[in-house]
Symmetry: C2
Subunit: 407 residues, 2 copies
């Protein structure tokens, strides 16, 4: 059984690295803060006597051998990077639940037949570098390693350069060395459902499909005063039309569809100049992949219509698409019976947030556990999970991992 005291102390210590004034977390992938937390993670793995490996995209593994050297290992993982001014629980709670699980096994001499590998995946968030789930995507071969190493942040720094800069481009080849038996990830729900129903644990059976688009509208800069309205080609006016259309788009589909414009940047961004360029992103999600495809087409039509209306040109690129995930019923059932065994309240659910576990599910039987997010808030400094729920989740997690590692 896990040690709630130690679990919480460790959580507080990790939360110091990149902590914001408002007790949030600003620890962008491959930043200086990310280096610092990775160093701490590696030293914690070494203190546990684990064999540590770092691969060519910075994914960091610690291996606890099992009693059967020939058994396929169990992979337990999440991520330590954060959103800009995000929360402390997103990702970190999963990595530290896995760490606490291994510490508890070590403490109490819990024998496990299978090796257990704990992993911190690189760049889950996709905020500084697109797309999200980059480390797990490259590891499982779902994303092209060379391609993503070349992706640049807003300042033009590539993933490869940032890895070198913080010293986390490891020697290990990127990809599995062997077959895994199964995988489990704990994460905060990031939505309101568990809290609304007063439950401590979600058994996650699937993840939404999603697509990301990047649109650049090319207008014509001119003076906000003497340029008659009829002469204008205002890139922002067209972009604003699309923002409104994207918000409304979800209404045409079932309940679960979500559509968001998260980034928008204007050039030259001067008060008395008609915008010459507007660059924005669109994020569309549904559990139904056909609906995601329809949403993408609808967005494409809205962009075309808005730009024609304003007489401006545009570029549109689909930069990421991931189909919906159906997790392993076997792993989910193991989690469910573990939750019953430790007497935790729970329900089955699907996730609207993307998770590394989706890519991992492509190479081994995978499922996830959720713990509640207060008010459903996340990607926000106020993100919070009641500590009692975090502990409940970690208990179910440790028990599930124990069962998987002996299966």
């Amino acid at each position: 059984t896990i040690d709630p005291e130690r679990f919480r102390e460790t959580f507080e210590r990790y939360s110091e690295i990149g902590r914001t004034e408002n007790d949030g977390l600003h620890r962008l992938a491959l930043s200086e803060e990310d280096r610092e937390v990775r160093d701490l993670f590696v030293s914690d793995l070494e203190d546990l006597g684990l064999d540590v490996r770092i691969d060519g995209i910075g994914n960091t593994f610690g291996r606890a051998e099992g009693t059967d050297p020939d058994a396929e290992p169990v992979l337990i993982a999440s991520h330590l990077d954060s959103q800009p001014y995000g929360g402390r629980f997103d990702g970190q709670l999963g990595v530290l639940s896995a760490l606490e699980t291994l510490r508890a096994f070590d403490d109490e001499g819990v024998e496990h037949r299978r090796p257990i590998e704990i992993v911190n995946w690189t760049n889950e968030e996709g905020s500084r570098f697109k797309p999200a789930l980059m480390g797990s995507g490259a590891f499982t071969g779902e994303l092209d390693l060379e391609e993503v190493l070349g992706h640049a942040d807003a300042d033009g720094v590539t993933v490869a350069e940032a890895l070198d800069e913080i010293g986390y481009r490891g020697d290990e080849p990127v990809g599995p060395r062997e077959e895994y038996h199964s995988s489990l990830e704990l994460h905060v729900e990031q939505g309101p459902k568990l809290e609304e129903e007063g439950l401590s644990v979600g058994i996650v059976e699937g993840v939404f499909g999603m697509a990301w688009l990047e649109v650049t509208v090319h207008g014509d800069a001119d003076h906000a005063g003497p340029s008659p309205m009829y002469s204008r080609k205002d890139a922002l006016v067209a972009a604003a039309d699309v923002v409104t259309a994207v918000r409304r788009l979800s209404n045409r589909f079932a309940d679960d569809v979500v559509t968001t414009v998260g980034e928008l940047e204007v050039e030259p961004n001067s008060i008395n100049v008609i915008p010459s360029e507007a660059r924005f992103t669109v994020d569309v999600r549904s559990y139904d992949d056909a609906v995601v495809a329809e949403l993408v087409e609808a967005v494409e039509r809205e962009v075309a219509t808005a730009c024609e209306r304003e007489g401006v040109e545009y570029d549109l690129e689909e930069i990421w698409r991931i189909p919906h995930t159906e997790f392993s019923p076997t792993v989910a059932e193991t989690a469910l019976s573990a939750a019953d065994a430790v007497d935790a309240s729970h329900r089955a659910m699907v996730s609207g947030a993307g998770h590394d576990a989706s890519y991992v599910n492509e190479i081994t039987d995978t499922a996830m556990l959720f713990v509640p997010s207060v008010d459903g808030k996340t990607h926000n400094e106020v993100e919070f999970t009641e500590w009692a729920d975090a502990v409940e989740g970690a208990r179910v997690y440790a028990e599930t991992v124990r069962r998987l590692a002996d299966a």
Copy 2:
């Protein structure tokens, strides 16, 4: 008479400082490029034997004495700062027409009864530091000097700090030392009218009134995936509604009304995060001050409605308002008869762009000359004026100044 060769060479030399790849000009107020062009301007004034003064907001004066030491001087002026990636003619052409006028008088020993003061006003554009017409506004007492010295750019650098940084916070008190007789400014039209009618010179009889608003919408950051649409407080969705409304607003008024959103910035600006903040500007203009007041109220209502619809809070600040200007009929008539005397084609017109001459008109009889802008384009690297038109304008300018300085 002016020397077209020298005029053009000087123009080319000045255009090198802050020249962009696409032959535009990027010379923001009080930047390193602005320092460099100011140094050149001062040395050109000194070469002409003028008495040079720099005041506490960086306005730079050169004085050519007249034959009558007691006569009130004529002020001839424009500005050397540019928009981000703006054009080479906006402002600079006016300063260099004034310089060429003084050079021509010097060359040919043209005697003038009145002293003539040439001025480069600080920060006409209002892009890096708001508001526009800052130097002339402080000089004429229409803007509060201490207040504007404290205004900061996007990086938090204040006007006072930037002046010190480039060494242009001068010793001269800010404000007129004596009464002026009159003032004249040449500028590019920045609109399409002169070109449409095939004319070389506009005699500007007035300038639009205008108001600038700054709006910050405060939403709530959350995850683009698991946050149900009904739970969202998306700052960008509300801002986009206002952008659309501002574009439409002009349709409710007469032809001359223009309404623009030039700046928009989103926080945290992450693809999978619901925007927590959207900051944007609104620029509204009309020759009718009552219409400007109505436009401001209409924008305030649109912001309130859009924010209520989305359930978000906002701050709205009117950061600048300037009434419409009616220039001096006497100076305009002098310009008109000078245009006839040198045989330049011309028409009377009003300006939709703000000009330092509006503030100067508060302290002395003022008017302006316009030369055509190809396609009406400005605040854009492609800004262009046919050289024949520039020369025609400078000829009318020199002749008008000669007449004013002897009146």
